[in-house]
Subunit: 253 residues, 2 copies
């Protein structure tokens, strides 16, 4: 069975998240059902590099797919985009992948972006794609606080109660807060993230941005390892899965 | 009656356009009805700097409003944003304006941006905000062709049949085509535009981008003044009204 890699974009709003679950439509279900006509009528099983939550968007999700048929990647891409209509899911690129490549386990770096619209007026054109925060935020203070979290740590303080990872040790390689006019962007990279880690980090940095907590607070929270002490979980609509990186060269078509 | 200026953002998708008309909801109607509670229960009449078509977005539409009551601009802005919910219309700023200021007639420069997503795969996250053009476009050729249209000309070849302007003489100050990855942006500025002018210009430049027409073609069309000879009208969802400029200093709050 030939293995493929897919580079996938989606608007998270109408979905229960990447992963199939009862009670709603997932991105996984849309793509697996779109692949059925290419797989002898049987939905093809897929696995993603990152299991995004309900409402979280993706520009560069990477998905693994084993197909009963050998198809040129361009044709696979076009067929999946045809059969997944009208859902806001698009296969931007496709590639043949080695049999020992895994979208999830082979991934060595993941990147996310979180967008905050920081102004009094609610969003209109960017509604559903940004977190609206009305009081002024000090992005420079948020950035300074973020730098104290880089490196290898136990991130228990920023982990969802439902997180299924065996341990909370993660290495945060980048956590950058920048302002451009009314928009504040948080960009982060790590080999892997805990469940809700990015949204919990953003919710915590925002407390520093408001001036309610000092720049040293997120680092102190990290060391305290107590989730109940940290900031709120930032809402999903501001978050976008940007990229997944692999040691293997993927010949995207 | 105090006059106000409003800086307005909207997602054009659910509207019949800026202007009130039978058979659908307009941005004007949403805002005028949102102003009624501040105007003795009577919808307040508004006029916009540019009457955008159905589906066209705005980040910097400027609107004029005469109100029965004198209100601090901040309060006016907050009240309009409260009463216009849940429509994707947002008053980003408000200001007091002189009685001899008009959003439409005082405007000395208008700016638009047109976004093209140029890739095989259909848009997902940016669906409804870009024109999806699948075959590869040569943005440099489009830009070169655009430069032949700058200056004061009779733009009859790029004007909608329904255009109500007395003449088609306009001065195009900027028409810039740039590519950034898969996205091509056309940015344009003029004192005023004819009905459908920007979308007709984009539809024409795209023919050059495909290589179906030479770089000299848009200039030749301009000189021919024949609308039926030009390219298609590009779809509205790629277009955003960016700004309106005035000689008066507006003290936005």
């Amino acid at each position: 069975m030939p293995r493929y890699a897919l580079l996938v974009e989606y608007d998270g709003a109408p979905f229960v998240g990447w992963q199939r679950q009862h009670g709603g439509l997932s991105v996984q279900q849309v793509l697996e059902e779109a692949a059925a006509p290419l797989n002898g009528g049987v939905p093809a099983r897929m696995m993603a590099s990152g299991r995004t939550d309900a409402g979280v968007h993706a520009l560069g999700q990477v998905v693994q797919l084993d197909l009963a048929r050998d198809l040129p990647p361009e044709r696979l891409r076009e067929a999946l985009n045809f059969h997944s209509r009208p859902h806001p899911v698009s296969v931007v690129r496709a590639a043949r992948a080695p049999a020992d490549w895994f979208a999830r386990f082979s991934c060595i770096k993941r990147g996310y972006r979180y967008r905050i619209l920081n102004r009094r007026a609610r969003p209109a054109l960017e509604a559903g794609r940004v977190w609206h925060v009305a009081p002024p935020l000090d992005a420079a203070a948020m950035h300074a606080a973020a730098q104290g979290l880089l490196g290898r740590h136990d991130f228990s303080a920023f982990r969802a109660a439902a997180c299924q990872a065996k341990d909370a040790l993660r290495t945060l390689d980048r956590l950058e807060v920048t302002r451009r006019g009314e928009e504040i962007t948080v960009e982060t990279e790590a080999r892997s993230f805990l469940h809700h880690q990015v949204r919990n980090l953003v919710g915590t940095l925002v407390e520093v941005g408001f001036g309610r907590q000092p720049v040293s607070w997120p680092r102190a929270l990290l060391e305290g390892r107590d989730r109940t002490a940290a900031g709120q979980t930032a809402p999903p609509e501001g978050l976008t899965f940007l990229f997944a990186r692999y040691p293997e060269r993927i010949d995207w078509q």
